[in-house]
């Protein structure tokens, strides 16, 4: 449990762009390095977090739960949120004062391509639990296109993914 707390606290500080950015690294740790679960189980936990209301950061609670029960879940969530929250807490006022500073605009521009690369990686890792497959490409491609091109509530994409999953897997 200490291992989870330590590692999730570290992940917290590199999660620029939020939870999607650290999905690949979290999966690498819990699946490849520690062997706490399979890639398929990881994607299923993520699915449960998506199907519940609330921020998708709740997936950290489920990963902790899988490894060390409910207490593990609470520890994982707290460890992931606390460092970032402390940073948000301390930087809030400073950021407002720097509104017109040139370096702030440079920094924001620099982060765009990095965040894009990280978030696509998060999507790819979650969408390929058993390695690349046409079924996964179909489901993920359809939901990505629907999100990009329409204003439908994303819950419909998740529901369609569930239906397609039932017939394809």
């Amino acid at each position: 449990m200490l291992q989870i707390a330590f590692y999730f606290a570290l992940l917290s500080l590199v999660s620029v762009g939020g939870i999607p950015s650290v999905m690949p690294e979290m999966q690498r740790l819990v699946v490849d390095v520690q062997g706490w679960m399979s890639a398929a189980e990881y994607t299923q936990l993520f699915a449960i977090a998506q199907a519940a209301p609330g921020p998708n950061v709740l997936v950290t609670a489920l990963v902790g739960w899988k490894v060390a029960g409910i207490a593990g879940g609470l520890v994982a969530l707290a460890a992931f949120c606390a460092p970032a929250a402390a940073l948000a807490y301390s930087i809030g006022g400073f950021w407002d004062r720097m509104r017109d500073a040139p370096w702030r605009k440079v920094f924001q521009r620099a982060l765009v391509p990095i965040t894009v690369g990280f978030v696509v990686s998060g999507g790819y890792v979650l969408a390929t639990p058993q390695g690349p497959a046409w079924q996964s490409a179909l489901i993920a491609g359809a939901s990505a296109a629907a999100l990009y091109a329409t204003k439908i509530n994303p819950l419909w994409m998740l529901a369609s993914g569930g239906v397609l999953g039932y017939f394809l897997f």
């Binding site: 299923q44 982060l111 999953g165």
Partner: protein, 180 residues
């Protein structure tokens, strides 16, 4: 009608509780609806400004919004109250679903449906990234950096802890030369 901060910690807690309770399919739209439209705690432009900061900071975006605004209104206690209000009900939900799933996960049909949902969720990330990438449309160097990050992390399985500092440095230099 004017915008005014929440009247009490209880008001703040209940507001964030209602955001968490209703936020199926994404928290952000509900955070906006409750704080800007229903409770009228913050003006739209103010909300956008806070959100921009929180998207750039590490950590859960709306979680950070709750911390920044809770602090602004009621200090450290406000930050804590807003954050726990946001998380309380979704946490109960997600553990309930997980326990339910643990009972049924041996059924292949259930597993197939849940896997499909997870893959569709991955697709939503890709769709989100495409939206984020719009400012890069005419910036080939930016696209190249994004593609490089993807190749190294998703396909190369290199640790984020190694990639982020290098990517941040390259991004910073490129942004200073107006390449991204």
């Amino acid at each position: 009608m004017e915008f005014a901060p929440p009247k009490s910690l209880l008001d703040l807690y209940l507001g964030f509780l209602s955001i968490g309770a209703r936020s199926f399919g994404g928290v952000l739209p509900w955070a906006h609806r409750v704080m800007v439209e229903e409770k009228r705690w913050v003006a739209p432009a103010d909300f956008a400004e806070v959100l921009a900061l929180c998207q750039f900071l590490p950590g859960p975006n709306v979680g950070n919004v709750s911390v920044v605004l809770g602090r602004r209104w009621f200090g450290p206690l406000g930050a804590f109250v807003a954050f726990t209000g946001l998380m309380a009900l979704p946490l109960v939900w997600v553990f309930g679903l997980a326990l339910l799933y643990a009972d049924y996960s041996s059924m292949p049909a259930v597993k197939a449906v849940v896997t499909g949902v997870g893959i569709a969720g991955g697709g939503l990330f890709i769709g989100t990234a495409l939206k984020l990438a719009r400012p890069l449309a005419r910036k080939p160097w930016g696209v190249a950096l994004a593609v490089a990050c993807f190749g190294i992390i998703a396909l190369g399985r290199v640790s984020l802890f190694a990639v982020l500092p290098a990517a941040a440095l390259i991004g910073w230099l490129a942004a200073r030369k107006d390449l991204v």
